[in-house]
Symmetry: C2
Subunit: 241 residues, 2 copies
């Protein structure tokens, strides 16, 4: 079924009308009267509608309001130290497809690139668009927020609040993801360092903040592969796959 992202206000309306980009898209699709479609507010709520009138305006009748059926029951946030080049964009796109709740980028001591204040606003807009587009393509009811945290300490404070707060570190060999996920959980933080890894003292700082330090197995994963591998495994463990 075709899906349109609208504002939460539009979703509340008793007789929604498709406008702007959505109206153009609906005309391209040649939506007909009686046809069903989904409106999503990008925050996990959706509304099953039927086309009441197809022209000049596309007006809809509400059939059912409900929580989005494609969102994961588990809330997994990806925390990633700023990587080089366009790797963050790759992670945003893929983590969105895989069902991440939010993607948060932060600086760490060995980050080679880190956007300056001036370019950050523009980059955030671009990153949010990538998330929106991946959410639409993968049929999600929620567009994950992309956020930037000001420091490694900030990232730890946020990440440590989850039921399972995990940091993946290439020098950890014994404590596995499977051990870390034992028992039940509803929220998970997955944190990875940049290309050059986190420093020993950053890892200590993370432990002190309450993060569990885990291995992702005997092969060394690139910084952009690690969070997507871990996210896939968590979704599997949580019964989403």
């Amino acid at each position: 079924m075709v899906r349109f992202f609208v504002t939460p206000e539009d979703l509340e309306s008793d007789s929604p009308v498709l406008s702007g980009e959505n109206a153009r898209h609906a005309r391209v699709l040649r939506l007909k009267e009686q046809e069903q479609l989904l409106l999503c507010d990008g925050q996990g709520q959706e509304c099953l509608c039927q086309v009441a009138q197809a022209s000049p305006d596309i007006t809809l009748t509400v059939l059912e309001r409900r929580p989005s059926s494609t969102e994961a029951a588990v809330d997994v946030r990806v925390y990633m130290a700023f990587p080089k080049a366009d790797k963050l964009e790759h992670v945003i796109q893929k983590a969105t497809e895989l069902g991440a709740y939010e993607i948060l980028a932060f600086p760490s001591s060995r980050c080679v690139s880190r956007p300056d204040e001036k370019s950050l606003k523009k980059k955030l807009e671009r990153w949010q668009k990538i998330a929106a587009s991946a959410a639409e393509q993968s049929g999600r009811g929620r567009i994950p927020q992309v956020r930037v945290l000001g420091s490694f300490a900030d990232a730890l404070t946020h990440a440590a609040q989850a039921d399972r707060a995990l940091l993946f570190y290439e020098n950890e060999e014994a404590f596995t993801l499977k051990m870390a996920l034992a028992g039940s959980y509803r929220t998970v933080s997955l944190m990875v360092g940049p290309e050059g890894g986190l420093s020993e003292s950053e890892v200590q700082q993370a432990r002190a903040a309450g993060m569990q330090v885990c291995t992702l197995g005997r092969r060394i994963l690139r910084c952009e592969t690690a969070p997507l591998c871990a996210l896939s495994a968590v979704m599997y463990d949580a019964g989403e796959l």
Copy 2:
């Protein structure tokens, strides 16, 4: 520890000598006498060595021959219908990092691009190089082979031989990866279609050949995301993460 890929014959030698690209690399690293390093044959065997003499030639003393400690106990092969553009290269790199045993590409009815005979040899060389480089970077002891199969029927015949032979299909809703992986297994085939998906009749053909048709959850994954998500989940299920 630094690792060098050598031929199986070089690995058998009682006093191996680093040559060619490996010798150049060792000089850049300024390897000293007594230093330890690993030789890998790219087929799962490795040899712990010590530098006996650092110049003019770099000769080694063998300390221990052993199976590679970074290879997965489970043998997972990724079967992918030819995707557009450089997506196959992406999957080869990432699947190698994630521990795949082999990556096999095949044509299917909705493949938009499919290399012709003439360009195939060159492409296979390039793909094999990508696998070798990712194997080295991730510390693997085995370089996964990249193979091209001539037809969808060929791919099914190969894939169906595994203990778990799984085809991911967006119209399957009930049978999950977790259900498919119940019980013990040593070999797994993970098959995905191209951007436009497999046709209904191809899916029937796959069932008839013995493939299990699975969902990868309620979100629709791109054709290059699906095999990497499934591979991560299988590695997790098999106790590798």
